[in-house]
């Protein structure tokens, strides 16, 4: 095993390209999963089976099938039905959709943890349903679940290398491409390994700060 700094230097331009793609996938995937998860959570509270059952079935299905299979399906099968998206778009959507089925449970827990007295108070004040949700329930619920959502951001970061399977050149994809052309594996894989540690550490520090400010 010999370490060649020259190979690291050669890899760095590819690394920055890959880093950008990884961060794009992470940020956009997180936003989709946060938004979509909230939608699922709210739909599950609609008091009719006509809504809760279909939503329940779809989200259970997505949560219980592997992300990799979903990626392959969205990238290779959908085009046969005339729906073609770029690799990165497909990847971002797949990660966002997959993780939204987890975050919906996080939101559900947060909403259920709001004391029932808050609901009663809102009713007593004759607040309309919309105001009850937007100014009473959700602000309290979301504040409670920020740490749990943060965990999923880090889990998503660690799942981004899967996008390599659908030709997205994230950090992992760039590292592999570089390795296959130069036959050097140690340097590029070590570099992205270190990068993953740094990004997840920074993300967790950021989230801890956010947590401290929200939960006083």
């Amino acid at each position: 095993m010999n370490w060649d700094w020259g190979a690291v230097a050669d890899f760095m331009p590819h690394f920055w390209d890959g880093l950008l793609v990884t961060l794009q996938a992470l940020v956009l995937g997180s936003l989709i999963s946060f938004a979509l998860g909230l939608v699922w959570a709210l739909l599950m509270r609609v008091p009719t089976r006509w809504v809760t059952w279909p939503v329940g079935i779809v989200t259970e299905f997505v949560r219980n099938t592997p992300l990799l299979v979903q990626l392959f399906f969205l990238y290779y099968v959908l085009p046969e039905w005339g729906l073609t998206f770029s690799a990165l778009t497909t990847g971002v959507f797949a990660i966002g959709l997959h993780y939204s089925t987890y975050t919906m449970q996080v939101y559900r827990a947060g909403i259920e943890a709001v004391p029932v007295g808050q609901w009663e108070a809102a009713t007593a004040l004759n607040l309309p349903l919309r105001r009850t949700w937007t100014v009473v329930i959700l602000p309290q619920a979301i504040r409670r679940v920020v740490p749990a959502l943060g965990n999923y951001v880090i889990a998503m970061l660690k799942d981004t290398p899967m996008l390599m399977a659908i030709t997205v050149l994230d950090m992992m994809g760039e590292a592999r491409l570089f390795s296959q052309q130069t036959f050097r594996f140690t340097e590029p894989l070590t570099v992205i390994g270190v990068a993953f540690i740094l990004i997840s550490y920074l993300a967790s520090v950021l989230l801890r700060t956010l947590e401290r400010r929200l939960v006083r």
């Binding site: 030709t167 491409l177 296959q180 052309q181």
Partner: protein, 291 residues
């Protein structure tokens, strides 16, 4: 006193560590004797592991689950003559063939791999068992009129090829921007990319592209052509690859290969896979490695 003491625990950890390093070093040293002793070991085992890339018609597992293809069938014949009775496939991605060979995942690359200088720096090749031109997969009717790498650049076509393929270099030589190339895992994913409209063209060997479009209603393969390398039209040759230390095995393999070429048996073995007299070659690995 019951339970392990700290000292015995340390000794145990050290022993495991020593075992681990012993295990590693066994894998790391390919062979100690000059020219390698792999052939002797293969004879003793009676089986040789072939690295294949699942590429029709070069080396693949057929619908009955049997290993076949140009290279594995040829390997069967040659290794039998060398005294190794059985071949065992190790399927992997094309781009992982050379790293896999060098990390001892298999003994020989039997994927009809093109011989080129970059690869010669990593492995040693037998003499080519066939020669081959490139061809493109394009949408039916070739709407952009793409016939070689120059067309791809001039007409701003979106270009794809496989991981670790020699075609990456040919496209770059023609002036295509390397970071714009879509790299797909294999030729089937390449066909899919063309059909789905993600790219305009996928480049591969003439035989690969011809085979993979057979069942496609939306794509076709173009006429085979010569890629330009160092300003000159180039013919590629595909060969078996061995670890750099195993020159003895490679030389023995070459001897049998040349016998098959002279007797015309080679063509008989390769013909079922779409090879013709035009693909038979006298090129040597040395020429293709660039000296």
């Amino acid at each position: 006193m019951s339970g392990p003491t700290r000292r015995s625990l340390l000794a145990g950890v050290a022993a495991v560590g020593a075992l681990g390093t012993a295990g590693c070093s066994r894998v790391a040293t390919a062979s100690s004797t000059e020219g390698g002793d792999l052939l002797g070991r293969l004879k003793a085992q009676g089986v040789v592991r072939l690295g294949i890339a699942g590429e029709i018609p070069f080396g693949y597992i057929d619908t009955d689950g049997e290993l076949t293809g140009e290279a594995p069938e040829l390997a069967r014949v040659i290794f039998k003559r060398l005294g190794v009775d059985r071949v065992q496939p190790v399927p992997t991605e094309f781009g992982s063939l050379i790293p896999g060979l060098n990390s001892q995942q298999f003994d020989v690359v039997a994927a009809g791999m093109y011989v080129n200088p970059e690869r010669c720096a990593e492995v040693i090749f037998a003499d080519p068992d066939y020669q081959m031109l490139d061809a493109f997969i394009v949408r039916k009717g070739n709407p952009k009129g793409l016939h070689d790498y120059k067309d791809v650049v001039e007409k701003n076509a979106k270009f794809a090829t496989g991981t670790g393929y020699a075609e990456i270099g040919y496209a770059v030589e023609a002036g295509y921007k390397e970071s714009d190339i879509l790299i797909v895992p294999d030729q089937v994913a390449g066909l899919n990319a063309v059909e789905a409209g993600r790219v305009d063209v996928f480049a591969g060997t003439a035989l690969t592209t011809r085979e993979v479009v057979k069942n496609s209603g939306k794509a076709e393969s173009t006429e085979p052509f010569r890629p330009i390398v160092d300003g000159k039209p180039h013919v590629d040759g595909g060969a078996f690859a061995f670890r750099p230390t195993e020159t003895k095995l490679r030389d023995a393999f070459n001897v049998e290969l040349h016998k098959l070429k002279e007797s015309g048996e080679l063509l008989r073995i390769l013909r079922p896979f779409g090879f013709t007299r035009a693909e038979m070659t006298d090129l040597t690995a040395k020429e293709l490695c660039g000296g």
